[in-house]
Symmetry: C2
Subunit: 356 residues, 2 copies
Amino acid sequence: MSRPITYAQSGVDIEANDVMVDQIHSHLTSTYGPRVIDVPWGFAGLFRLDYDEKLFKKNYRNPVLVACTDGVGSKVQVAAKAKCFDTVGIDLVAMSVNDMLVMGAEPLFFLDYVALHKLEPALVAQMVKGVAAGCRQADCALLGGETAEMPDTYRRGDFDMAGFAVGVVEKDRIITGKSVRPGDVVLGLASTGLHSNGYALARAICFKRAKLKVTDVLDELEGRTLGEALLAPTRIYVRSILKLIAKYRVKRVVHAMAHITGNGLPGNIPRVLPPDCNAVLKKASWPRPTIFNFLQKTGPVEEDEMFRVFNMGIGYVVIVAEDFADAAARLLLQAGERVYHIGRITRGTGKVVLKD
Amino acid sequence: MSRPITYAQSGVDIEANDVMVDQIHSHLTSTYGPRVIDVPWGFAGLFRLDYDEKLFKKNYRNPVLVACTDGVGSKVQVAAKAKCFDTVGIDLVAMSVNDMLVMGAEPLFFLDYVALHKLEPALVAQMVKGVAAGCRQADCALLGGETAEMPDTYRRGDFDMAGFAVGVVEKDRIITGKSVRPGDVVLGLASTGLHSNGYALARAICFKRAKLKVTDVLDELEGRTLGEALLAPTRIYVRSILKLIAKYRVKRVVHAMAHITGNGLPGNIPRVLPPDCNAVLKKASWPRPTIFNFLQKTGPVEEDEMFRVFNMGIGYVVIVAEDFADAAARLLLQAGERVYHIGRITRGTGKVVLKD
C-alpha cells in the first residue's frame, strides 16, 4: 500500500493562509468606517446601508446599488517583473470605483480576489496593503477578499487580481448623459500615466521590441526607471468628483462623465454621448505625459492607434453645462485635480472628433 | 524605421470581445428581474434595492448589505482538462451565495471575472452560460462581469474565474450563531459531490498518483466518467434555506448555519459555534457519496484528512432548536433537499466531534 497522501502534499499550505490572514487584518480594518459590521472569520462581509444613529443619520430614499468589477490587465505582469506588489492594489480599486463614479455613485465597499502560484504571506500582504490604500483614497471599506493558491494555473512569480466595488446612488440622481447638449464643455482630468490600460502594447514595445528592463533609468521618463513609469498608480477621482456633484446637486450642471479606460478617449466618451452629439476635442489643450511620447516613439505607434489604446494624459472626463464650466473646473482644481478645458459638445453622430 | 506596432499585434483581440459581448447578452438578461436597471454599454451595473411599485413593494427597514467573493479553486483545471466549460459557472455562484446564506441574507446580484489565455467568444459564452444558470438557481441577477485576455499570465487552454455576490438582510435578522445552545439539532443537507473544495488533493490523487484520465469510466463512480464525477456542480441551497428562514421568521428556530467549504465539517461549523458548545456528529447518519470513497481508497487518504479537506457528503449545515428539528427537516425535504439529522449540540469548547 502506498504512503497516504495529504492536502499539504498536494501543494496547498493552510498554515501560510493563517499567517496571511493575520498580516492583512490591520490593512482591512484601516478602511473600516462605522457602517462596517466586523465579523471576524465570518462567511461574508457586512455593510449597513442606512445609518440610523442620530449624529450620522444617512438614509437613502430610493437607493440604487451600483456594482463594478475589473482587473488591472497585464499591469500585473509588469508588477511581477519589477517585484513591486504594493501599488497594483490601488489600480485595482481605481478601475472599479472610477467606473461607478461615472453614474454619480458613491463607493461603499470593495472586495478583492488575488490568485497566485504560491501563497507567500508577506507578498499577499503587500498586495492587500495597496488595495487598502486605494480603498482609503476612495473612502470605501475593504469588506473582504479571497486569496487563491493555484500552483498549476499560475507560473512561479505570476499572479492575477480582480476587484469588485459596490456603491449607491439615489435613483433620481443617476447621471446618464441624456442631458448632454451642444455647447457643453468637456473638462479633462489629468491621468497619472497609463493607469491600467494598454499594457499588452506597452509591454510589447518596452520588453519585446526595445528589450528594455524595468530597472532601466531613462532620460525620456524624467530620470525614472521604466518600471516606476509603467507602474504609476491609477488616479482615483472619487473625492473631487463627489464634491463637484454635491455642490451642484440642485442645478445638475454635470451632464455626463466618462472614465477613460480601454479604447481611450474615442472609445469611452461615446458611451455617455446622446446619438446626435459629438465631442470635439483639441489635442493641444492638455499636456501629454512623457510616457506616451516615449511609447509612441519607441514603438513606433501611429498617432490614431495611441489614442485608441491609451488615455494620452486624460484619465477622467466631465461634461458640464457651459455657464458653469469655469466654476466646475475651479472646484476640481481646488479639490486637487489638474483640470483642462479639452473640448466642446457639438451636433453630431455620437462620436469623438480629435483635432490637432 | 521599424514597422509601426498596433494593439492587435500585441495580442489583444478587440473584435473577439465584441462578438463575445453579443453572445453573452442573452445569458445576462435571462437573470434580470424588475429590480435591474438595464444600461447597455454602461460603466456599471444598476440594481434597485427598494422597489416602490405598488404591486411589488419591498422595502428594507435597516438593510445590511452582505458581500462575498470566491473562486472555484483548481476545479477550473479539471474543467479545462475535460474541456467542459458550462458548469463551473454554477460552482462560482454557489460558492459565494451559499456563504452569504449563512448570515440569513437573500442574494441580490452577482458579478463574474473570467481571465484566460485567449478570448474565444464561444468558450467564454459557455462559461457565462453556467454563471447565468447558477444565478437563476439563486434568484439573483448577473449584473455584470469582466473578461480579461492575458496571454502571458495564463497558458493556452487555462483560465481562472472569480465571483462576487451581494445580498441583503434586515439588521435584526442576521443569523450569527449566538443563540445556539446544547440540545440543538444539527441538520445536514446533502452535497452533490466535492462541490468546489479539495481539488488540489483530488487532482493529485486522480491524475498524478493514479494516472487516470477525465474520460475514464469507472465502476466505483456508478459508471460516470471521472470528469463527470469531479465536475458535478455545487448545490445552491438558496431557495430552500430562504423558505425555511421565512417560515420561522418570528420563532427564529434557525440558530446557525454553515456552508461546508475548505477544511470541511470540522473547519466550518466552529465558525458559527459559541465557544462553550460542541457539535457532535455521527458519521454513519448520512450516506457518503461514492466519489469520496473512491478518492480515499485511491489516495490512499486517512479518514481524518478526508474530513478536513472534503465535505464528505454534507454541503450545508443548519443548527435548529430541538422542538422544531423535525418540522424544519420536513420543510427542507419538501423544498427539494436531502436532509439528515447528523448530530447534536452539547456543552464543549467550540469544536466538532466526529463519532463513528
